[in-house]
């Protein structure tokens, strides 16, 4: 066996630095709060409300993203048309927007004095200071993560499969449901996991657009921020819970669909 070269040593060193930098703060959350503290803080009023609200709003926004985003991504992956690159860029834009910008943008669009504020109001919808507003904010920031990944997943499916199903007499909608989705599933699941993580961690857009009220709009990240100054231990405990939930999502996706799902880019 050859001795590892200097280059390999350099690579390993960089990996070690990356790993330490990324894991140390997360490990610190758990080292700084004992399991007993954690359980006690969860029993404290408001903590479970925040957790339940986070799970509920994230769940609803993911359902919307999957339902609308999957066909949209399929179209972008299988058709070519003028201005497609522009459309894709527009869809990806929220990915690189700071959350504060997302919050301002949502207020300017569908806030009470936004350009569509009147329409929203006359439709009897309440978004600001309402749970529905949280769902809107989460959907806005998280959907590009899913649509992007789903597009790549559909694009990498061998067209021969779809053509074969058509030759056998299946309509395109049937081919989409019975062939494309199952084959692209690992990529779709990976996209879902990314969107889920982003939605669960959303902070700025929610605070600016929907506000912060226990049980209505105060999701876990907002509850953490609220406790940061006066109850640091409670903030730590809630952070630990969020880390655990996020890690559980990541792990279960990896276990169910094999490590290639989130390991490498599909294609």
């Amino acid at each position: 066996m050859r001795r590892p070269g200097g280059f390999t040593v350099l690579l390993a060193l960089c990996l070690a630095i990356t790993l330490t930098f990324l894991t140390l703060p997360i490990v610190a959350i758990f080292l700084d709060s004992s399991p007993a503290d954690l359980i006690r803080s969860l029993g404290e009023p408001g903590a479970l409300d925040a957790l339940w609200l986070s799970l509920r709003t994230t769940g609803i926004s993911i359902a919307i993203i999957l339902l609308v985003g999957t066909p949209a991504a399929y179209l972008l992956a299988t058709r070519s048309f003028r201005g497609k690159a522009f459309v894709v860029t527009l869809i990806e834009l929220p990915l690189v927007l700071p959350p504060a910008v997302a919050g301002i943008a949502l207020l300017a669009a569908v806030g009470p004095s936004g350009i569509l504020g009147g329409t929203v109001e006359s439709a009897g919808l309440e978004l600001t200071f309402a749970t529905a507003g949280v769902v809107v904010a989460l959907t806005f920031v998280a959907s590009p993560f899913y649509v992007r990944q789903a597009m790549a997943a559909f694009a990498s499916v061998d067209r021969v499969l779809l053509d074969a199903s058509r030759t056998l007499g299946a309509s395109e909608s049937r081919g989409f449901l019975r062939v494309m989705i199952p084959v692209a599933l690992p990529g779709l699941v990976a996209g879902t996991a990314l969107a889920l993580g982003r939605a669960l961690g959303e902070f700025g857009a929610t605070l600016m657009f929907a506000g912060s009220f226990e049980g209505i709009t105060q999701t876990v990240p907002l509850a953490i921020y609220d406790r940061f100054s006066t109850e640091f231990d409670a903030a730590l405990a809630l952070s630990a819970v969020l880390v655990a939930v996020s890690a559980a999502i990541l792990l279960s996706v990896k276990l169910v669909h094999g490590s290639e799902v989130l390991g490498g880019a599909p294609r």
């Binding site: 207020l107 806030g111 009470p112 004095s113 504020g117 600001t128 200071f129 605070l207 600016m208 506000g211 912060s212 009220f213 226990e214 209505i216 709009t217 105060q218 921020y225 609220d226 406790r227 940061f228 100054s229 006066t230 109850e231 640091f232």
Partner: protein, 258 residues
């Protein structure tokens, strides 16, 4: 090999750029001394106005950091190296002083606690805010503006207090959040400082609260024990009661030291 050349050139350029930067910053004796100031969000405009004058007078490079007073106090407790701390109340500086983290606090200004509403709103009094369906935006209980709000409301008749608290739709982590929600028309009314209303340039109106609600709020400042530049920090704190920063605070609508 040819392709490596531009890259190497870029690396060299980058490295020399860094070296230049360091030479400038590390000059020590002649360069300005860096002063880190943590101040409550409500003083943002005022302190930004007077900082350049302080910099010229003291040969300092002032770094202003604005956030909720409680958040800034938490940062100091977590070991942040700050040279001056100016809070929107007296209790947080006193607490830090009691913990040995801050010098004896100096009260340097007062602010007035008011009811704020969009300029064209029909809301005119505390009674209007108690009406069912009014969307009231307040500060979270953990920030000074939120605790004042609750203390003041507790002096109202219990039925009125309850009615107003039931109308609260959001507990914002700082004053800016409250003002933003009101200027955007999302909220109908909120409790803030008069200086925050002044800073909106006419978008919001301030409605004076009855004296019984004790709307006078004192601001206090001190020098953290762990300051890197305690003398300069002390000069900044003194400047809050006398000098360009005191003038800028008065200009923004703050009252003089109590």
């Amino acid at each position: 090999m040819k392709r490596a050349l531009p890259l190497a050139a870029a690396v060299v350029l980058l490295a020399s750029g860094c070296a230049d930067d360091e030479a400038e910053g590390g000059d020590g004796s002649a360069g300005p001394t860096r002063l880190v100031v943590s101040a409550a969000s409500s003083m943002t405009e005022a302190l930004q106005t007077c900082a350049p004058e302080f910099e010229r007078a003291e040969n300092a490079d002032v770094r202003l950091s604005f956030a909720g007073s409680d958040e800034l106090a938490a940062q100091i407790r977590q070991g942040a190296r700050v040279d001056a701390y100016a809070a929107a109340n007296t209790s947080l500086p006193e607490e830090l002083n009691g913990e040995g983290l801050l010098s004896e606090p100096v009260e340097f200004a007062t602010n007035e606690f008011v009811l704020a509403a969009p300029a064209d709103s029909e809301i005119d009094s505390v009674e209007d805010v108690a009406e069912a369906g009014t969307k009231v935006v307040v500060g979270s209980e953990s920030v000074p503006i939120g605790s004042y709000t609750r203390e003041s409301l507790a002096r109202l008749p219990p039925a009125q207090e309850e009615a107003i608290l039931a109308n609260v739709v959001s507990n914002e982590p700082d004053v800016k959040g409250i003002v933003g929600k009101l200027t955007q028309g999302a909220g109908d009314a909120g409790f803030v400082y008069v200086t925050d209303v002044n800073a909106t340039g006419g978008d919001l109106k301030a409605i004076d609260l009855p004296e019984t609600l004790a709307p006078q709020v004192a601001y206090a400042a001190g020098v953290p024990t762990e300051a890197r530049e305690p003398e300069l920090g002390q000069a900044f704190v003194e400047g809050l009661t006398n000098g360009p920063c005191a003038d800028a605070l008065a200009e923004a609508g703050f009252g003089g030291a109590p």
